[in-house]
């Protein structure tokens, strides 16, 4: 969907915050950021929802909330919505717990516990093993490297990984990656459906017009159904 997250090429979002360009800022600036990241990974590991559902949840934020909030508020919105809608934890329970707990005191930069529970060990293991996203293909790739393709004019309100600025753009297949699990099927049906993935190259004039201020090439990784042969 071309929601508030789909910002590639959009004007008017302003300059990069100068505070972000100062050297030495920790990548997790507040203790709640790392904790939100960790509990999200845990909920996924426990099977409450998957990564594609979590990304899609963020896409459903109100536009002004998306642009005005601190980054990990996006994760909080999505995880809270998913856990509520799936019946794990309701919004009201969170409201009530907030009132009970009062002001938090989170430890910044916690140390790794001396002994890890089986679940903690499993989580650290997941961090280093990852969760591969490729799948055996059910059909060979339709497009060869070098093929001229055009991005289809897709305005689906479901989750996909098609940046809006690439709609209808013509490009060239630069690489075949093989099949990866389809994000829409994963987000909406929680199924693993193989879908051929390609690296596609676009020119700046194709994307931004003959009057494009800068000249460069842009590469994006796009699924087969996002593409059609260019005439």
């Amino acid at each position: 969907m071309h929601g508030p997250h789909d910002v590639g090429g959009r004007d008017g979002l302003g300059p990069i915050a100068t505070e972000f360009l100062e050297p030495g800022i920790p990548d997790w600036r507040y203790p709640f950021e790392g904790r939100m990241h960790a509990v999200t990974a845990m909920a996924i590991a426990k099977g409450a929802f998957n990564l594609d559902e979590q990304r899609h949840g963020i896409e459903l934020m109100k536009w002004s909330d998306y642009t005005d909030s601190t980054y990990y508020a996006h994760w909080l919105f999505s995880v809270e919505k998913l856990l509520n809608d799936k019946g794990y934890i309701s919004h009201d329970e969170i409201d009530a717990r907030m009132a009970e707990l009062g002001a938090p005191s989170m430890t910044p930069h916690p140390e790794k516990p001396a002994t890890l529970s089986p679940f903690a060990e499993k989580m650290v293991d997941v961090l280093w093993k990852g969760t591969p996203h490729d799948l055996p293909a059910e059909a060979p790739p339709v497009y060869d490297v070098g093929a001229a393709v055009r991005v289809r004019n897709i305005h689906d309100t479901k989750h996909n990984r098609l940046p809006g600025y690439l709609n209808r753009a013509s490009g060239v297949i630069a690489k075949q990656y093989g099949a990866f699990h389809d994000p829409a099927a994963s987000a909406h049906q929680q199924t693993d459906v193989p879908h051929q993935l390609y690296m596609v190259r676009f020119t700046s004039t194709e994307l931004w017009g003959d009057a494009a201020v800068e000249e460069f090439d842009l590469y994006a990784d796009l699924f087969e159904d996002y593409l059609e042969p260019a005439n």
Binding site: L21, D27, R35, H37, A41, I89, R97, H109, G130
Partner: protein, 196 residues
Amino acid sequence: MDWLSLPDVEARVNALESLMVEKGLAEHEAVDAVVASFENDMGPVNGAKVVVRAWTDPEYKEWLLRDATAAIADMGFTGLQTEHMVAVENTAERHNVVVCTLCSCYPWTLLGIPPAWFKYPQYRARVVKEPRSVLAEFGVELPADVKIDVWDSSAEIRYLVIPQRPAGTEDMSADDLMSLISRDSMVGTALVGTGA
């Protein structure tokens, strides 16, 4: 959303964690362990090791450019959001810069947690439209004849930029070379100098 302020978000995350622990979806000490792993064991030091090996071992560099997933796995740095990798090389003719316009996709085990500028909408919106101008804001002024390639991580492939090795570093030890390589240089928003 009534809770946009930092204190509100913090309080809500706190309540969420508390409830998740109660319902068996999380454990407090496991959260500490995951946070500690990210902060201590994952980070650009890992990426810099890959870059130094590529700089000093031509066969490794060729492998890295051909099959980054396998070459990075060989050094033990694949992992969550780092399962599928492509390495792109900066040269005298070409400069690479990476973005995730749709969210903040980033190779966690190799480079750590992405910096704020990578995650917020402003960089994501502009670098795919005016990369040279954005790079100038990061202090990267490229000669006009250097071609720029922008990589939008729109699927599960993650990108590592191999910065150019500066001239005059031929006799430097691996440790000294490591100290030259910044996180930003492996995303494409910085160049590597000699540290002189």
